[in-house]
Every structure is written in C-alpha cells, then in structure tokens.
Symmetry: C2
C-alpha cells in the first residue's frame, strides 16, 4: 500500500528545502554547462529525450528529489493506478486512460467487464466504422462518400483531439494518410457553430457528438444547431451523426445517431484523447493505423514511466523538478514553448490537462493543503513567442520556468535555404540559443541591455513529430501531471471547481437571481 | 513637465499600501454587491463599458489610487506622449501610434514631416490600392482578380492584424464586407509557410511582406519561401507582392514589390495594428471603410483616456487596479477571458502588447526597479476556458485576477433556442455567473466542493463586436498598458529582451559556439 501524506509531512521535503539553491547562470557556463547538457537527459520513447541541463538542479538537489520520490511512493502509486485502485477519490472512480493504450498491470474489472477488453473493443468498432466510411461502404443518403468530419464537444472532448489533429494534419497530408479533414465545434457562442458550418460541406460531413454524460450544455446546444443546419439543407441528421458517450447516457441508445462508441467514468475528459473520444475522430481523419501508432507511442512512454529511479524516468523527473520550482523556489507559472507550428494548440491542451488536474486546494481526502499546487500554464509556438512575450521571460521581474519542445526535422520537409541554412535549421538554432540565453544571460554596460539569466528551462527534443512521438509526448505530460498530483497528495482526476459556475448560469437563465448576479445579468442583456 | 519617479518613491504609493484590503467575497454579497456593479463602471467608447464591481477595491482604495494617478502625472504623461515628447527613452524615439487614428495634441513633426499627415497619407495610399484591387483594376498577370491576401510578418506584424482579422471575419461575411480572405505566415518553422501556401490559391493571391527594418530573419526567410512557390507555379513574384516597411529599409525601393506602404520608427510593432501594418491587410480584406471605422473606434477610446479623473477614465482605472493587484496584493498573472469566439486570438495579441511592453526590470532611465512590473498574461475564449483551466482559477492555490469581455449580441445572429433560451443568452449567462462565482464562492460541507471566492475580476461589456467597438477595445488595452508603464516608470516601448536570443541563434548557425550552446546545437541536429 502506498503512503499517502501531504508533501509537507514528508521528511524528505524538509531535507530538500535545506539544500542550497543552484545558481543556473554559474553552473551553465563553460564546460560545466556542456557536461550538464550531456548528463542531465533521460530518454522518453519514440526518439524523444527529456533534457534538464538548464534546470536549477545539481547532484544535491537531485538526490533530495529522489528521496522524495521514494518517500512519496511515486512508483507504487503509479502501479496501484495501473492495477485499478480507486485513484479518483472524490468521484470514487478508477483512473484508466493508460488501459486504452496497453496493459502494464493486472487485469482491471469494473462495471462487470474487463476494462482493457472494453476499450479495445471500442477502438475496433471505431476502426471498422472508419474503414467502412473510407471504403465508401457507408455513405450519405445519395450514396456519396463522406469527406469531412466535425467533432462537437468541449473541454476534454475538444482540446486534446483538436491539438492532436492539428499536430498530425500536415504529417498526414505529406504521407498520404489524410482520409478526411476534421473541424471542431466547441463554444456555446453561436458564432462558433455558425462559422464552422459555413466552412463545412455538410452534405458530405459526418458529425461526432461527444459528451460522456450526454448532458453538457454547450454540446447539446451545438448538436441542435447542427441538426437544424442539416435539416435546412434537406438532409436527415441521423444519417450524418455518430455519438461518443457513456453506455449509461441518454445518447447511447438514441435513434439520432448512426452508431455510438462508448467511453466510461474511469477516464476523465482531459485524459480521454486515447479513448473513444479521440479514437473516433482521429480514426476517421487519418485512418485507424495512424491512431494505433499514436497509442503505441503513448504506451511506450507509459512503460518508461514505470522506472523507479527518477534519473531514468523522464515524467517523474519532470514532475519532481516542477514541484521543486513551485514549492521551494516559489514560481507560480510555467510556459510550454513548442518550436513546431504543428503544436500550435498543444499548449492549450496542456493548459487543461495541468491546470484542471492540479489546480486544487484540498488533498485527496478533503483535508487542506498549505503549499502551492499546480502552476499556471501557458504557451505559444516558437519562434512566434520570441517576438511576443519572451521579453518578460528574459527581463521581467517574475521568473517563469520554461518547457521547450523541438524536433530536428520538419513534417512537410519543404524548405528554403537562405544564407546557407534552411528554415528548419534556423528554427532549431533558435531553440538552442534561447535555452542558453535564458540560463546564462549577458552582462552589458547598458542596464537596459543586461540579461540576468538564471531562468531555468528543460527541453524535450525529438527527431520528427509523428503519430508515435506525439503519443509519447502526450503520455509524458499526462504522467508528469499524475506524479505531481501524487506529490501534492491531491486528486488530479476530478474537477469540482467547474460546478459552481454551471449552477449560477442556470439561475441566470431561469431569472432566479439577486444582488450582483442580477446586475451582471442586466449588463449582459439577459 | 511630468514627474518621473519610481513607483516606490511616490508618497501616495506608501499611502495605498496602508489602506485596508477589501474582502471581495464580503462586499460582493447581497445588496452591497449589486450597488457596486451599478456604481463601479466607466464608459469607454462605442458602447463598451468597463465594470470593476468585482475588483478588490472600495472607496478608500479608489481614493488612494486617484492620488497615485495624480502624483504620477498619468494624465500629463499621456498628453506629453500625444504631443510628441520622446517617450521611448531607450531607443530615443517618439511614440505615435495614437496619431494613426486622430490628433489629440499638438502637431508632431519628425523625420522632417508632419507625422499625422504622413500616417494619413499612407492610409490613403493603402485605401486607393485596395480599391483598385477590389475594382479589378489591379489584377494578376492573366487579368484575373486577386481574391486572397497573405500577410508575411511576425510578432507585431502578425498578432495584432491577425487577431483583428479573425475578430471581424464573421462580421464582414454577415454584412457583405468581406472583400478578400486573409491568411498569415509568421513562424520560421517551414511547415507554417508550406501549409499556408497549400491552402492558398497563389495565382489569385496578393502577399504583403511586413518588416519595419527589412531585416527580420523569419520574415525574409518566408518571403523567399513564397517567392519560390510563386515561381514554381510559373508566376512572377513581383506581380503578387507588396511591402509594408520603413522608408529607410532596403525593401522600400526594391523592385520585388508592386508598391510599398510606409511605417516608421515611432510606432512599435505591438502598437502597429493602427498603422500601415494593419491598414494594408485589413483594407484589402474588408475594404478601407471598415478599417476607417476601426480607427474611429480606437480614436474615441483614445479621447476617453484623456479624462483626468480615473473614475471617469476606464483605461487609467484598469491600469491602476492592475498595478494594485501586482504591487500590493502580489498577484503574478492576469487572465483575459473573452466570451466571444471571434476574439479567439485577441489574448495572444494582448500577451505581446502587455508582456513585451511592461515585462521590464529597469526604469526608463536605466535605473533598477525593485517592485513587480508587468504580469504574465494568458487567456482563451469562454465558455471553452470554463471546461479547461478555470478549475485552477476557482480552486487553485494561486489567485489570478481576471478580465472578462462580453457582448450582448452575436456577430452572425444565427442562433438556436433550447429550453427557452438562445446560445447567445447562455453565453452571456455564463459570464455573469462566472464573475459572481469567482467573487462570492460557495460554502459546502464537502471541502472539495467549497469555493473560497475572493477572486477579483472586471468585465468590458458591449453591444456587439464591430469594427468600431473592436478599435475601442484595442485602444483601451494599449492605453492601459501605457498608463501602467507610466506608473512603473519603465519604458513600455522598447524590447531589448529579444536581442540576446537573436545574437546566439546567429552564432549557432555560424557554428561559432562553445559550452552548453554546442551541446544544445548537437541535440537539435545542427
């Protein structure tokens, strides 16, 4: 049995606080810096490497972190999760997203079935469905092929699948794997659905309604919106719609859909990209083989996260360093900076994954936590960010730890040489340059041109962004967030903080308001 | 002459720190909250209102803030800026973006010309050019109309114009004002340009190269990329290209372009949406009339920012409250939350505007500042964010002040009724609900379902997002950032923090590296 204690109840945490802090600028200079970059790296999977040379750690800090990993039973807790222990204590649910991509522990039985078999069955059903669509066996009412797919969902039913679709769209074009273009409707703002529908060839589009409960306000509203649009065009909505939902939801047996694929309560929305939520849309867009490669990459990174020694476990090390930055060094935020346009929406997915999982103030038993938990997370692709918010990161009064991501090859492999170097080389040169600029800074007689340095960063470097390496990247962050939740002794798998707003919004719509709520409703014309 | 002192040298700042903090939860409850929402609002322009009812202020705090505004000469400094004082002390330049949309001070002479006349002349030239294109007088080599426009630029040459284009595209479609679709190429990642070019009908596309200096690495690389693509299609690049640059740049007189529109050194990139940088692409996309409406909205908000009393000056009040949150209450970040899908990239623009302007550690004379300056800024549209990072905002350990934006009407006015309310009403109900949920929280016997409240927020509410209200919104934030720079006694108009990375990237490409830089270059395959 794992040892569940608050972080500040661990002796090893006291020991960590007593370790002398590392002067990043000093240790990253000269040969010492070169050695750190060579030594401080851990393979993830699928060619990805996590390098923490420029983080504010040294042998003493790393030893202290390793002792915390041990005292907090990080490895044991991960195994218990894989074996189907009830890790989502608030909602009394298991946490089974890993099972969508492999089985690393015991058989997990729940809801009367073997869950690994259940998830694989849903993947097979979605794959068969996608193949029938791609083969032209399943068509619209006029016998014409479906060429587009539109996902209707919000939060975890949107951000992860959307980020993955955008990340692989160019790769799929280049490699002849783009079967159908995908679009996404999420916001209850009617302009979102209106606009996507304007751009969509609805007669040749399949729509996927994604809602676990079948009761998500935004999604049901947009479902109606799309049904109306189909009817206006003389089309039968139920010939264009599939559902991804839980078997118990009102949508599961509805006649409104061609078919339904199932998810369950043991996979939270923000962890559901590997489940039917991502499987249906991504199998339709790219084919089931590509989705299978994505899952294999995630599974490989899941296996790598089983290592007990944090120096060999990238997700665990990333988690420990992030905790150190948050709870000892006192940094509030972290920026994710992918040097890959394809990852333009990956930070938005990580923003949900991290902030919704670990933005908590009570521990997994409902007791208080008195230390900082999950950080603020934001990011944009480089080099765009360099011409935007990097000014504050370099010279602002608040230090923001950084997480770079970079690939040696582009996806489309179409490039141009200027002054003897390709765009891809320029892109990669900028990553290397930024890490060192942030770490080492620069003295200058003009204080305005002085860089203090000492800004810690890590990088995940890979060969190319492919389905497999993207799967590994996603899994790395999921497991990092999981390990951090273990460290903070919080439940990373519920989201009670989203409930109050929903309740009050219903009261506004029912005109059941008083005080400030009445005035704000008036201000907004309701 | 204005009084330039560091914030902590102001007597009124000491007085502010001595004022008792406000318990947001308490004052926002019941009739007190309703009264605050009614009282604490300031008109901006074009139907926009800034409401700060849910901020952590009361009569005592507001009086103290008003005294700071006075002692810091905020009003005088704004007038000096408008009158052409050298406000960009680091680069020894004027700060003239306001002059693009009106003249609120004296004539400003620089570079041997009247700058207002110069900017208006460039607007007229761009308008004439756009009208010739729209009328089919200026065509491609086959005499066919140009139907698309592609902006090539990065940072301020990208984020602002792109955010404005996205914000108005639906409005323009709905109102018959969409003349040409626009796309944007920014990143040096070759997959960015490759992908945009795949989606573009290049034979009928005009490309706008935007670089003030004419030396921006990313932009020149993408220029070459586009030229190559045009040539591959048998097209003459110079019949498809215009430039926006400074009159002194190598691009200004180049034969590579149909024509060039000019900007100058007195308008920084992040403030250049009102200048030729935004004018060319937006006039082509929507027509010069729409761009003129946008400028009129911005000008109206510029005039509103002239009020000396912060209780009547929304931008000044917003700036003062932001400084109070940063320097007295100790919050590191702020989130911008537009409940409008059209504003999906507006936070990314504000991220540059705010973090690049005020992420500084030296004052305008090069002396140190010992207090926090510009905050971390991030955001995504609501209601999407509610299903993502709002968990941390509601229940996390770090309080993040919030800036909501909402409109009573949608842009496309296509909607659906479910359970008696439209999507737009649901969207607006959620804004009202969130503000109150953040402020007032909720007690619950289950600590996991408890909301502490006390999360401060403001809202800018308007009738509809139109060219004029968008101009006012942009100007509000520009002037807020300006007033905050005055408060912090920093130069909000340079960006020395972006230089070091550029220098090191060149060294990597020249293989002139040592230490850690060599190792990171190797890791990234250079």
């Amino acid at each position: 049995m794992a040892n569940w204690k608050n972080l500040d109840e661990l002796k090893s945490f006291d020991a960590l606080k007593a370790v002398a802090p590392v002067d990043v600028r000093s240790v990253m200079s000269g040969e010492s810096g070169a050695k750190r970059v060579r030594d401080y790296q851990i393979p993830i999977a699928c060619g990805l490497t996590y390098n923490y040379g420029a983080k504010a750690v040294d042998a003493h800090v790393l030893d202290a972190l390793a002792k915390i990993a041990e005292e907090a039973d990080l490895h044991v807790k991960y195994q218990e999760l894989l074996n189907g222990e009830m890790m989502n204590t608030g909602e009394k649910r298991l946490v089974l997203h890993h099972l969508c991509r492999g089985q690393l522990g015991n058989d997990v039985m729940a809801d009367g079935v073997n869950k690994r078999e259940f998830y694989v069955e849903q993947q097979k059903r979605a794959a068969d469905f996608a193949e029938r669509v791609h083969a032209g066996e399943l068509t619209n009412e006029n016998g014409e092929r479906f060429t587009e797919v539109v996902q209707i969902g919000i939060g975890g039913s949107d951000l992860g699948p959307r980020a993955v679709y955008i990340a692989l769209e160019n790769w799929a074009r280049k490699n002849g794997r783009l079967k159908m273009t995908a679009r996404f409707i999420s916001n209850v703002d009617p302009d979102d659905a209106s606009r996507v529908l304007q751009d969509t060839d609805v007669a040749h589009a399949l729509f996927i309604l994604v809602s676990k409960s079948g009761t998500t306000l935004e999604t049901l509203t947009n479902f109606q919106f799309v049904q109306d649009a189909l009817k206006r065009d003389g089309l039968d909505p139920k010939k264009h719609m599939i559902a991804v939902t839980s078997a118990a939801s009102p949508l599961a047996k509805s006649d409104d859909f061609l078919t339904a694929f199932y998810m369950d309560d043991h996979i939270g929305g923000r962890y559901s990209t590997s489940s039917a939520v991502g499987c249906a849309v991504l199998s339709l867009a790219f084919g089931p083989d590509v989705f299978a490669e994505f899952l294999e990459g995630a599974s490989a990174a899941d296996r790598a996260s089983l290592e007990t020694d944090p120096k060999k476990n990238a997700a665990m090390m990333d988690a420990l360093i992030g905790m150190y930055e948050r709870d000892v060094l006192g940094f509030d935020a972290t920026a994710v900076l992918p040097y890959s346009q394809a990852l333009s929406r990956f930070p938005a997915h990580l923003q949900q994954l991290d902030m919704e999982s670990n933005g908590k103030s009570v521990n997994r038993f409902g007791g208080p936590v008195t230390y900082p938990t999950g950080p603020i997370l934001f990011g944009e692709p480089g080099t765009n960010g360099q011409h935007s918010f990097y000014q504050l990161l370099h010279q602002g009064k608040t230090i923001v730890p950084l997480q770079f991501i970079g690939f040696r090859k582009s996806q489309l492999c179409s490039d141009v040489e200027i002054e003897g170097t390709s765009s891809q080389q320029k892109l990669c040169a900028n990553v290397a340059a930024q890490i060192v600029a942030f770490a080492c800074g620069k003295d200058d007689p003009d204080p305005n041109k002085t860089f203090d340095g000492g800004r810690p960063s890590s990088i995940i470097a890979g060969d190319q962004l492919t389905p497999a390496s993207l799967g590994a990247l996603l899994s790395h962050f999921e497991n990092k967030v999981m390990f951090q939740g273990f460290l903070w002794n919080i439940n990373s798998f519920d989201q009670e903080g989203v409930q109050l707003g929903k309740v009050l919004a219903k009261r506004v719509l029912a005109h059941d308001t008083d005080g400030a709520l009445t005035e704000y409703s008036r201000l907004l014309g309701i």
